[in-house]
C-alpha cells in the first residue's frame, strides 16, 4: 500500500458546465496562439457564446434530471440546488455581457503599449483588436462557477484566484482613458491580492482549529473542539474579510468605484453582475454550511456590516457626478440589501429556504438590471469615448427618448419601484428578514432605499427636465448592445409583473438548501 495514491473519483457529468467553460477557454488560448490575427475574432465570438449557451443548457439538464444531495469530486465541489441556480444565473449574465463585449471599440488595440506611445498609434492605425479578452472572460466565468460551488476552503481559494486574475487583466484593457483603466487594474490587483491573503490566512487558522478545510467538517468541529476560540474567531473574521471584499461590503468597498469606473464598461457589467452573484453564493455557502453552528456570533457582526454597507453606498452615491461611479455606489448599496438576506438565514429550515430564495431572486433581478444599465452607459458617447459625466446626460430624454426611458426603467428598478424586478427583490428579502426578526435592519434598508431613490430620480429628472446641451453626446447603439438592452428591459419588466415563475424556481432551488 505504501506509496500508492488512490485515484480520486470525479463526477465529470456533474461538473460538465465548468469543464465546458474551462475547456473552451483553453481552446481560446490555442486560437490566440495559432490562428491568424484576422480570423481570431471570427472564431472567438461564436465559440464564447456557444460555450456559455451550451454550459447553460447542461445546467438546466442537470437541474431537471435530479439534484445530487452529496458533494462531488471527493467533497471538493458541491453541485446542489442553489449552486445550479447560481450557475444558470451567472451563465446567462455572462452571455449577455459577452454580447456587450462583442461590440467594437471597447478594448485597447495593444495592451502592452504605453498609453500615448508611437507603438499604440501604430496598433490603432492597423485596426488591431484585443481578442485575448475572450479566453480571459471564459476563465473568469469558470472561476465564477467554481467559487459558489466549492465545498472546501482550498478549492474556494483556487476558484477565487481563477475568477479574479483574468478580471484584473480585463480591467486594464479599456481603449479610451487608458491611464485610468490601467490604474484601476493595478488597484484592483493590489487590493485583491491583499484580501486574498486575508482569505488564505483565515483558511489556515480554521484548518488549525478544525483539522480540515472541508466546510462540513468545520461545522462539525464547532461543536466538538473546545478551547481554541481564538483561532476560530480570527480565522472566521479573516475569511469574512476575503469574501466581503469581493462583494464590496463596507468597509471593504473602496476599490469598487475606482475599478468600476476605470474598467471597460462591458467588463464592469460582467463584474457587477457575475462576480457579485458568485461572491454571494460563496459567502452564503461558507456562512451557512461551515459556520451555521456559529450563527449566534456572526449574525450581529453581519448586521453591522450590512448597515454600514447600505448607508455608505447610499450616502456616497448622492454626491457622485460620474455615472459609472454612481452605479458602483449603487452596487455597494445593493450588496448591503443582499446582506440583509444573509442575516435572515437561521436555523429554521423553512425560514432558510425563504431567505435563500429571496436572495437568489434578488441576484437574478439585480444582475439583469445592472447589465442593462451599463449597456446604456456604453451607448452615450462623446468624442473622447463614453460620456460619463452626469452633466452630459442632461436632456437626453428630449434627444433620444427611447434610450432615456430604458435607462429610467433600470434606475427605477434599482430604486425598487413596484412593477419592476427591483421591487420584488427587495420585497422578498425584506419580508424574509422581518420573518427572521431583523426588523431594525429592514428599517435601515428602507431608509437607505429612500436616500438612494434620490440620486436615481435625480438622473431621470436630469434626462427629462433639463435642456440638452448644444454639443451634447451622440448615442450609438450597436447590434449587440441593442440586444442586451432588450433582454434587460424584458427581464426587468417581466420579473416585476410576473415574478412568480422565477420566485418558484428560486424556491425550488433553495428548498434543497446547500448540501452539508
Amino acid at each position: 500500500m505504501n506509496g500508492t495514491i488512490p485515484a480520486p473519483t470525479i463526477e465529470y457529468a456533474l461538473l460538465a458546465p465548468m469543464l465546458v467553460v474551462f475547456g473552451a477557454a483553453i481552446i481560446g488560448v490555442l486560437v490566440e496562439a495559432f490562428a491568424p490575427r484576422y480570423l481570431r475574432s471570427a472564431i472567438h465570438k461564436p465559440l464564447t457564446l456557444l460555450t456559455l449557451a451550451g454550459a447553460f443548457v447542461i445546467t438546466i439538464w442537470q437541474a431537471r434530471t435530479g439534484i445530487p444531495t452529496t458533494p462531488s469530486a471527493m467533497g471538493a465541489v458541491a453541485v446542489d440546488g442553489p449552486a445550479l441556480f447560481i450557475w444558470g444565473t451567472i451563465l446567462v449574465l455572462a452571455f449577455v455581457s459577452v454580447l456587450l463585449i462583442n461590440d467594437e471599440g471597447h478594448f485597447v488595440a495593444s495592451a502592452a503599449a504605453v498609453p500615448g506611445s508611437a507603438e499604440e498609434e501604430r496598433a490603432l492605425t492597423e485596426g488591431a483588436t484585443h481578442t485575448e479578452v475572450y479566453p480571459l472572460v471564459l476563465f473568469a466565468v469558470g472561476g465564477m462557477l467554481l467559487f459558489p460551488a466549492a465545498n472546501d476552503l482550498l478549492a474556494m481559494f483556487v476558484a477565487l484566484e481563477v475568477m479574479s486574475l483574468p478580471l484584473y487583466l480585463l480591467c486594464g484593457l479599456a481603449r479610451r482613458r487608458r491611464l485610468l483603466s490601467q490604474e484601476a487594474a493595478v488597484k484592483y490587483f493590489l487590493l485583491g491580492a491583499f484580501s486574498s491573503a486575508f482569505f488564505l490566512y483565515g483558511t489556515a487558522l480554521l484548518y488549525g482549529y478544525a483539522g480540515s478545510v472541508d466546510l462540513a467538517k468545520i461545522n462539525t468541529a464547532l461543536g466538538s473542539v473546545g478551547g481554541q476560540d481564538t483561532l476560530l474567531y480570527i480565522g472566521v473574521a479573516m475569511l469574512g474579510v476575503g469574501l466581503l471584499f469581493k462583494i464590496g461590503a463596507a468597509p471593504f468597498q473602496a476599490w469598487k468605484p475606482d475599478v468600476y469606473q476605470g474598467s471597460p464598461t462591458p467588463i464592469t457589467a460582467l463584474m457587477a453582475s457575475g462576480t457579485l452573484v458568485a461572491a454571494f453564493g460563496a459567502l452564503l455557502r461558507v456562512f451557512w454550511v461551515a459556520l451555521g453552528g456559529l450563527e449566534w456570533s456572526w449574525t450581529p457582526i453581519m448586521w453591522g456590516v450590512a448597515i454600514l454597507t447600505m448607508v455608505v453606498g447610499a450616502i456616497l452615491a448622492i454626491t457622485q457626478t460620474d455615472i459609472k461611479r454612481m452605479l458602483a455606489y449603487s452596487s455597494i448599496a445593493h450588496g448591503g440589501f443582499l446582506l440583509i438576506g444573509v442575516v435572515a438565514l437561521g436555523n429554521n429550515q423553512q425560514q432558510n429556504a425563504s431567505a435563500l430564495s429571496a436572495l437568489l431572486f434578488y441576484l437574478v433581478a439585480y444582475g439583469f438590471t445592472t447589465v442593462g444599465a451599463f449597456a446604456v452607459v456604453t451607448t452615450v458617447r462623446d468624442a473622447g469615448g463614453e460620456a460619463w459625466h452626469l452633466s452630459r446626460w442632461a436632456g437626453l430624454g428630449k434627444r433620444r427618448p427611447l434610450v432615456a426611458v430604458v435607462f429610467s426603467l433600470f434606475l427605477l428598478a434599482f430604486a425598487g419601484i413596484p412593477l419592476t424586478s427591483g421591487f420584488f427583490g427587495k420585497y422578498a428579502v425584506f419580508q424574509a428578514a422581518v420573518a427572521a426578526g431583523a426588523t431594525p435592519l429592514v428599517v435601515v434598508g428602507v431608509v437607505s432605499s429612500a436616500i438612494a431613490a434620490f440620486f436615481y430620480v435625480r438622473v431621470i429628472v436630469l434626462m427629462f427636465f433639463s435642456d440638452p446641451a448644444a454639443d451634447g453626446p451622440s448615442v450609438v447603439i450597436p447590434g449587440g448592445t441593442w440586444a442586451v438592452g432588450a433582454v434587460a428591459v424584458l427581464a426587468t419588466v417581466v420579473l416585476g409583473v410576473f415574478p412568480q415563475p422565477v420566485l418558484d424556481l428560486a424556491h425550488t432551488a433553495a428548498q434543497s438548501l446547500f448540501v452539508r
Binding site: 476560530l232 456570533s297 450616502i315 454626491t319
Partner: protein, 633 residues
C-alpha cells in the same frame, strides 16, 4: 335568497373575458401613443374596439345563460401580484354582465354618434382615445372581483371624466368644470379608499368572494362605518347629495360625453357599488342602508327641483339624471326587493337618457351649439327624427304607460311604498315634478314659436347621428316591459345579489301607480300652460325666491364655497406658511445633512491604493475585534 357562491371558471369566452377590457384599452393606448399619424382613422378604430368589446360581451352573456342560474357567478383569475395579498381577477355574473352590455352597447352607439358630432373637431382622435379609455376603465370597475380592482376602474373613469369634461380646455369654464368634478370626486374617492382599507383590516381580504365567505366577524360599528364610507364614495361618483355639485358643471364637456359618462354609465357606478356590496355592508334595515335610501330620496327631489328652473337644455337633463339616480339609490337601499328595480331602471335610464342627451346634442349641432332653450322653439318641424326619438325618451322618463320608464320607475315606487310609505310618497312626488320639468323641456325646445338667433339655420343631423338615436329609442320603448314583466330581470339578477322570498307581482292599477300617473299628467299639463300654450320670453324672467333657489342649484355651490372653499383656502395658506417655515426647514435640513455627510465622506475616497488598503486593514481589525466581543459575551 342569498347570493349564489362564486365558482372558479376557465375556458370558453368567459375565460377570455379580459378581452372586454383589453380591447378598448389597447385602442386608447394606440390612439394616444400613435399621435397625429392616427388622425385619419382614429375615430373608426375607436368605434371598432368598442363594438368588438360589445360582441365579446354578448358572447360572454350567451355562455353565462347556458349555466344553471345557481352557477352563474364565475370568477376568472387573471393575475397574482403579491401572492396571497393582491389577487386580481374578474367576476362575471348576472350583475356585472348587465353592466357590461349596457356600457359596451350604449357606449358603441355613442361612439358611432360621435363620429358625426365631432366631425369638425381637430382633436377628434384624442376624443375617441379618451372615450375608449373610459369604456375600459368602466368595464374594469364592474368586472373586477375585488375592491382594489374596482377602485382602479373607479379612478380610471374619474380620470376619463376629467379629461373629457375639460376636452375643450381652451374654454375657461370647461377647465374649471373639469377641475371641480375632479375635486368633488376626490372627496368621495377618499371615502371609498378608507372603506377599502377598513375592509382589508376587518376581513384581511379585499375580494368580494373573500369578504362574503370570510369567517371574520367584525363589530356592527365597523360594518356601519364601511357602509357609510362606501356610500360617500357612491355619492361622489353618482352626484348624490351632498356631493352633487359637480354634475351640472360637467355639462361643459362635449354632449356625447354627457350622454355616455354623465348620464348612462359612470354616474351609475355608485348604484353598482351599493348593489355589489349590498349583501355584505347594506343588509336590509341597517343604518347604512337607511342612509342610502335617505340620500336617494333627497337627491331625487333636489335633482327634480333643479331641473324645473334650468334654461340650459343640458343642465336641465343633468338635474334629471341626478334625480333618476336618486331613484336607483333609493331602490338599492331597500335591499333585495329593490336591487332588480334599481339595476333595471339604471339600464332603461341608460337608454332613454342617452337618447335624450344625444337628441339634445343633435339639436345643438343644428343650432350653432346654442344650449339656451329660450332660444329654441318649434324645432319639431325641422328636426323630425330628433324630435320623434326625443319624444320617445321623454315619454319613457315621465313613466308614460307601457314604455320602459313606466315599468322600472313604478317598480321602484311600489317597493319603496312597501318599505316605508313616507319615502314612497316622496318618490311619487318626485315623479310628478319629473312630469313637469321634462314636459317644460320638450315644449320649450320643440313646440311653440321660433325664438332662434338670427344666424341659426337648424337642420336635421346626418344619419350617423340619427341611427343611434333610433336604436336607443327602440330600447326606451320596449326594454322596461321586457325586463320587469314576469320578473324576468329579478330572477336573472337573483343569483348575483339575492332576491326576496316572494317575488313581487306587477299591479297596473295600484293606488300609488294611479296617483303617480295623475301627478305626472298634472305636471305635464301645467308645463303646457306655462311653456307650450303661452309665450316663452327669450330672456329669463326674474322669478320668485323659489325659482332663484332652484336656478342656483339649491345654493349647493354657495354652501360649498362658504363651508369648504373659503375655510379651505385659509387652511391652505396656513399650511403653506407652516410648510415653508417648519417642515421645509426640517426636510431640507435632513437633505442638507445627508448631502454634507456625503461630501465629507467622499474625501475618504482619495484614490490612493495605500489608503484603501489601510481601510481594509482597519476594517479587518474591527471585524476580528468584534468577533471577540460577540464570541465572549
Amino acid at each position: 335568497m342569498e347570493p349564489a357562491k362564486i365558482i372558479e371558471h376557465s375556458g370558453g369566452v368567459i375565460g377570455v373575458s379580459w378581452l372586454l377590457i383589453a380591447l378598448p384599452l389597447l385602442g386608447a393606448a394606440f390612439l394616444l401613443l400613435g399621435g397625429r399619424k392616427t388622425d385619419k382613422f382614429g375615430h373608426l378604430l375607436g368605434v371598432a374596439t368598442a363594438v368588438a368589446s360589445f360582441v365579446v360581451g354578448v358572447l360572454v352573456f350567451l355562455q353565462l345563460l347556458g349555466f344553471d342560474p345557481a352557477e352563474r357567478r364565475r370568477a376568472v383569475p387573471l393575475y397574482d401580484f403579491i401572492p396571497g395579498l393582491t389577487k386580481m381577477g374578474l367576476l362575471v355574473d348576472p350583475l356585472s354582465i348587465s353592466f357590461v352590455l349596457l356600457i359596451t352597447g350604449v357606449g358603441s352607439l355613442i361612439h358611432i354618434y360621435s363620429i358625426g358630432y365631432m366631425a369638425h373637431d381637430p382633436n377628434r382622435r384624442r376624443f375617441f382615445a379618451y372615450l375608449n379609455l373610459f369604456v375600459a376603465a368602466m368595464l374594469l370597475l364592474v368586472l373586477a372581483d375585488n375592491y382594489i380592482g374596482l377602485y382602479v376602474g373607479w379612478e380610471g373613469v374619474g380620470l376619463a371624466s376629467y379629461l373629457l369634461i375639460g376636452f375643450w380646455q381652451h374654454k375657461p369654464s370647461a377647465a374649471t368644470a373639469a377641475k371641480k368634478a375632479f375635486i368633488v370626486n376626490r372627496v368621495g374617492d377618499f371615502g371609498l379608499a378608507i372603506a377599502i382599507f377598513t375592509i382589508f383590516t376587518a376581513f384581511n381580504t379585499v375580494s368580494f368572494a373573500g369578504v362574503m365567505e370570510s369567517g371574520a366577524d367584525p363589530s356592527q360599528g365597523t360594518l356601519t362605518a364601511i357602509g357609510l364610507l362606501l356610500l360617500l364614495g357612491a355619492c361622489g361618483k353618482s352626484a348624490q347629495l351632498p356631493l352633487q355639485s359637480w354634475l351640472l358643471d360637467a355639462m361643459e364637456g362635449p354632449t356625447p360625453v354627457s350622454a355616455l359618462i354623465h348620464a348612462a354609465t359612470m354616474v351609475t357606478a355608485g348604484v353598482y357599488l351599493v348593489t355589489r356590496s349590498g349583501a355584505m355592508f347594506f343588509p336590509e334595515g341597517s343604518t347604512a342602508a337607511i342612509a342610502v335610501t335617505i340620500v336617494g330620496v333627497a337627491t331625487l327631489l333636489a335633482g327634480a327641483i333643479i331641473g324645473t328652473a334650468k334654461d340650459d337644455i343640458k343642465k336641465a337633463l343633468a338635474g334629471s339624471t341626478m334625480s333618476q339616480i336618486g331613484y336607483m339609490m333609493l331602490a338599492a337601499g331597500i335591499g333585495p326587493a329593490g336591487y332588480a328595480f334599481a339595476i333595471a331602471h339604471l339600464i332603461t335610464h341608460g337608454f332613454f337618457k342617452a337618447d335624450m342627451f344625444l337628441g339634445a346634442g343633435s339639436v345643438m349641432h343644428g343650432m350653432n351649439d346654442e344650449v339656451d332653450m329660450r332660444k329654441y322653439g318649434g324645432l319639431r318641424k325641422v328636426m323630425p327624427i330628433t324630435f320623434a326619438t326625443f319624444l320617445v325618451g321623454y315619454l319613457a322618463i315621465i313613466g308614460f304607460p307601457l314604455l320602459s320608464g313606466y315599468f322600472t320607475k313604478d317598480g321602484i315606487i311600489e317597493s319603496a311604498m312597501e318599505y316605508s310609505s313616507t319615502l314612497g310618497w316622496l318618490a311619487v312626488l318626485g315623479a310628478g315634478i319629473t312630469g313637469f320639468y321634462m314636459s317644460r323641456l320638450v315644449f320649450m325646445t320643440f313646440f311653440g314659436k321660433k325664438r332662434w338667433e338670427a344666424d341659426a339655420h337648424p337642420h336635421e343631423s346626418p344619419a350617423v347621428m340619427t341611427w343611434p338615436l333610433i336604436i336607443l329609442s327602440v330600447g326606451s320603448i320596449f326594454l322596461g316591459g321586457f325586463l320587469i314583466v314576469g320578473n324576468r330581470f329579478m330572477t336573472f339578477l337573483g343569483p348575483a345579489v339575492g332576491q326576496p322570498e316572494h317575488l313581487p307581482s306587477f299591479h297596473p292599477f295600484s293606488v300609488p301607480g294611479l296617483v303617480t300617473l295623475a301627478l305626472v299628467a298634472a305636471g305635464a299639463a301645467l308645463a303646457w300652460f306655462k311653456y307650450g300654450a303661452a309665450e316663452v320670453p327669450v330672456t329669463a324672467p326674474r322669478g320668485s325666491f323659489l325659482t332663484t333657489f332652484a336656478r342656483r342649484d339649491l345654493y349647493g355651490d354657495a354652501l360649498n364655497e362658504a363651508l369648504f372653499m373659503r375655510p379651505g383656502q385659509w387652511l391652505t395658506r396656513l399650511a403653506v406658511f407652516f410648510d415653508n417655515r417648519g417642515i421645509d426647514g426640517l426636510v431640507n435640513g435632513i437633505a442638507a445633512g445627508i448631502g454634507g455627510t456625503s461630501g465629507r465622506l467622499r474625501r475618504v475616497q482619495t484614490g490612493f491604493v495605500r489608503s484603501y488598503a489601510l481601510s481594509i486593514f482597519i476594517g479587518a481589525a474591527i471585524l476580528v475585534g468584534a468577533w471577540f466581543v460577540v464570541g465572549n459575551l
